[in-house]
């Protein structure tokens, strides 16, 4: 297993290099001039030339790439063109907010998907099943920017008492109660799409497992239905669900781009959304790179969890 993990880690290097080339070229395809954005309404040509020089934009693109990669190798993601803040600092400042939102959404979507998915599979074609299918359809159909606004309208304006604020963020350490109140709407918005996908996966995986011989054997042994589902059905049905959740963990950083914008949640997504129209290359590159790494690591973790869930999966054999 350790050999497998090491091999995967080594393989990440060429993938990461490809990502750096891709993101470096893509951000430069936009016609906007970062120096003009930085200067705002000030257009002194000498000042603009000096700004371009300071940003390194007077150099050919391959030279810019090598310089950036050199700094990256030393753990330096550079400084924002617009604010001069270190990109790593900008990202780490916002990481707690993004992680909190992402994990809350994941917890919500996973737990609801498991409970409703199991009920839906066990009581197939019942009211619960019908409801769960409707939730799935609605969740997949509603884009987060629409759902977010509907939730704000409902809970911050229409329903008396303004149960949840329309947006904003208070650190957990500052006021836990207020933090949680502000977390609910964005977390539900972010969770809805993945909830629908996970719910559908739990239901269909369980239905698939229910048809297997070992389920009949378990029941024939006289085990209680609850034990049959928990011990025999669920563990086997969870493997595809774990894949989905793993991908969703990897997607926490960029998954919240839109939701963070709607709810003024000061996370990494908002950082990137503001950096893109400003042609703030270092920030966009930094966020995309970190997002790519989080994907790569989450898929590795998913593969490791597979082996734990299903002892038949052996990476040593595959590598031999």
């Amino acid at each position: 297993m350790i050999r497998y993990i090491l091999r995967r880690l080594v393989l990440m290097i060429p993938v990461a290099l490809l990502v750096t080339v891709g993101v470096f070229i893509l951000v430069r395809l936009s016609p906007g001039d970062p120096a003009l954005v930085f200067a705002g309404e000030e257009r002194d040509p000498n000042a603009l030339a000096a700004i371009r020089e300071q940003m390194g934009l007077d150099q050919p693109i391959p030279v810019q790439y090598v310089v950036w990669l050199g700094h990256l190798a030393q753990g330096d993601l550079g400084r924002s063109f617009q604010t001069h803040q270190r990109v790593l600092e900008a990202v780490t400042e916002r990481l707690p907010a993004t992680l909190e939102l992402g994990l809350a959404a994941l917890l919500f979507s996973t737990s609801v998907a498991l409970i409703v998915g199991i009920l839906s599979a066990v009581k197939r074609n019942s009211i619960v099943d019908l409801l769960s299918t409707s939730i799935t359809l609605a969740g997949v159909s509603f884009p987060s920017f629409f759902l977010g606004i509907v939730l704000i309208l409902l809970f911050a304006y229409i329903i008396p008492g303004r149960i949840f604020p329309p947006g904003g963020y208070v650190p957990l350490t500052q006021d836990a109660g207020d933090n949680l109140r502000r977390l609910v709407l964005p977390a539900v918005t972010l969770a809805t799409a993945s909830l629908a996908v996970n719910l559908r996966q739990v239901r269909s995986s369980l239905l698939d497992v229910f048809g297997h011989d070992y389920m009949r054997t378990a029941r024939a042994k006289g085990l209680r239905e609850r034990t049959v589902i928990a011990r025999h059905a669920l563990k086997n049905a969870l493997i595809p669900v774990v894949t989905l959740i793993g991908i969703q963990i990897g997607a926490i950083i960029e998954g919240a781009f839109i939701t963070e914008q709607i709810f003024f949640w000061p996370g990494i997504g908002r950082l990137a959304v503001q950096a893109i129209p400003s042609s703030d290359y270092p920030v966009v590159q930094g966020v995309v790179l970190i997002s790519a790494f989080s994907y790569m690591f989450s898929t590795l973790i998913v593969d490791i969890v597979y082996a734990w869930l299903d002892p038949r999966i052996s990476y040593e054999a595959a590598t031999a």
């Binding site: 906007g32 954005v37 705002g40 001069h84």
Partner: protein, 530 residues
């Protein structure tokens, strides 16, 4: 009869003198000259919902309006303005300009200290101005382009030696080019000074916390030098929290729900409601900002034919744009860049008081190249901007002018415009400057940095250069208006169609704040009544 008139004059003069004595002193810390009468309320914290996150807290590198909203609270400038646009003494208590206009001597306020404890003096002024002029990439080089050098006469006197007489200099020193920062903090913070210039100013509030995209904390400077009209020491508030909230509707909701106490932008549709809300106070004054359509008049482009620009300027219905557009009447119609808030404004300047589609048709026919058709690049992201463009599109259609709309990122439009590559016109305005020179010169003088329309008219160049060297405001006004007649009407450089207003909405128990034409809130006189 004669003695009665004399008596009336005498009584009036006495009454004015009495009022002046009773009315207290001219406030040194800005704000209204009239004391409120109420007992000064010290303490309290307020939240200001800012329209976007600040980009750069270093006055040297700041290029955006939002930045100035925090700058004004934490930094002092050499001079400032009152709500009417008159220059006020600030860190410079008085100044003299030499008869040839090439030297300005500033006498500095004594005993002032930066928030980090270092002294503000003549050396500090010289260091700041040198930094603004000499640093590579400084965005203040254009503002201070006329300054040859700064000479320290003594600890409280500095002399600005100019390359040539430059009337708009004082106006430039009101803003970032005149803001003084502590050398010690700049040296200590290095590149991080742009993000966290803690204790760097001498202003009424001290920046103590800066969390990008979330909030900024400004705490009271107990040693600030300013006093209000009643002689009360300023500032009154203990703390200001600045929160960037991008959406105007959300910002207003925050105000209504008590999560914010001040906003300085509002959608036109909300103004009538806010005005009648008993819990809020609404104020507005005309601003320096203007709205325009920028043609590309470079050779090879449609608008190289200036009569087409004039046809567009004639055909649009400015009243309709203001009243039926998303502004909902909040703003002012205009035909040029000199706003009603400027000393050089001419209220009679209305070249086309009503839309003249027939006149526009005749002008296009006179060119003789068939119907006029062009593309307008509209910045994406703001529905109100697009709605205004659509309204103009419908108005131009009445003059048989076809204007196609294309939305694009603002940054991309400005880049194209700067490179003189936009095919037709762009929909880009200007936030405005205190001195009318800042609203005009760079946009119309041949080869100037903001002359994105590639406009060139030798007569305009000559008039604009003359006004810069003219120290008499009345003569300057004449020169500015002569130039405006040419570049806005006779041989138009772009299409101006209106001016903005500066709104200020506060909660009712917040007093002492006034709306300024530059839209920047001044917090040093703000009081939260219990």
């Amino acid at each position: 009869m004669r003695s009665a008139r004399f008596a009336l004059v005498f009584v009036s003069a006495f009454a004015i003198l009495l009022a002046a004595c009773a009315g207290g002193q001219q406030p040194s810390g800005g704000g209204s000259a009239a004391p409120s009468g109420a007992k000064a309320a010290y303490g309290g914290t307020l939240t200001f919902a800012l329209e976007n996150d600040v980009s750069n807290l270093d006055p040297m590198l700041s290029g955006l309006f939002v930045d100035r909203n925090i700058h004004y609270a934490m930094y002092d400038s050499l001079v400032r303005v009152d709500p009417q646009g008159n220059i006020l003494p600030w860190l410079a208590e008085k100044w003299e300009t030499s008869t040839d206009g090439k030297t300005v001597t500033f006498h500095l306020r004594q005993g002032v200290k930066y928030h980090d404890g270092t002294a503000f003096d003549g050396d500090s002024v010289k260091w700041n101005i040198d930094r603004y002029i000499q640093t590579k990439g400084s965005l203040r080089t254009a503002d201070l382009g006329s300054v040859d050098n700064v000479q320290v006469v003594d600890a409280s006197t500095v002399k600005f030696n100019l390359k040539s007489a430059f009337a708009p200099l004082l106006g430039a020193l009101v803003d970032r080019a005149g803001m003084m920062v502590s050398k010690k903090v700049v040296d200590a913070m290095g590149a991080d000074f742009t993000v966290k210039p803690f204790k760097a100013g001498t202003g009424p509030f001290i920046l103590t916390e800066a969390v990008k995209n979330d909030h900024y904390t400004l705490e009271k400077n107990p040693d600030w030098w300013g006093k209000d009209a009643a002689g009360n020491k300023l500032p009154f508030l203990d703390k200001i929290t600045v929160k960037p909230i991008l959406d105007a509707d959300v910002a207003l909701t925050n105000l209504r729900t008590g999560q914010a106490q001040v906003i300085n932008r509002i959608n036109g549709k909300d103004v009538p409601v806010v005005k009648t809300d008993p819990t809020l106070t609404y104020q507005q004054v005309g601003s320096f900002s203007w709205n325009s359509m920028v043609p590309n008049e470079a050779p090879g482009f449609i608008f190289n034919e200036h009569r087409y620009v004039k046809a567009v300027a004639m055909a649009i219905d400015r009243d309709e744009i203001l009243n039926k557009g998303p502004a909902q009447g909040i703003g002012l119609v205009g035909w040029g860049p000199i706003s009603p808030a400027h000393f050089a404004y001419d209220p009679s300047f209305k070249p086309w008081p009503k839309a003249d589609p027939d006149g526009a048709k005749k002008l296009v026919a006179e060119v003789g190249k068939g119907p006029l058709k062009f593309e307008l690049l509209v910045p994406s992201g703001d529905p109100a901007t697009l709605q205004t463009a659509q309204l103009i599109q419908a108005e131009l259609a009445k003059a048989d002018i076809t204007m196609d709309l294309k939305t694009q990122l603002f940054n991309d439009i400005v880049t194209l415009q700067q490179q003189h590559k936009h095919p037709g016109m762009t929909f880009v305005g200007w936030s405005g400057r205190l001195d009318p020179d800042g609203n005009t010169y760079d946009f119309v003088v041949t080869g100037s940095p903001n002359n994105d329309s590639s406009y060139s008219n030798p007569k305009v160049d000559d008039l604009m250069k003359q006004q810069r060297a003219e120290s008499d405001p009345a003569k300057r006004k004449t020169l500015l208006l002569q130039a405006q007649q040419i570049y806005a009407v006779d041989d138009p450089s772009r299409v101006w169609f209106g001016f903005g207003v500066s709104p200020l909405v506060t909660v009712k128990n917040l007093t002492g704040m006034e709306s300024y034409p530059d839209r920047i809130p001044r917090f040093q006189t703000a009081q939260l009544q219990k």
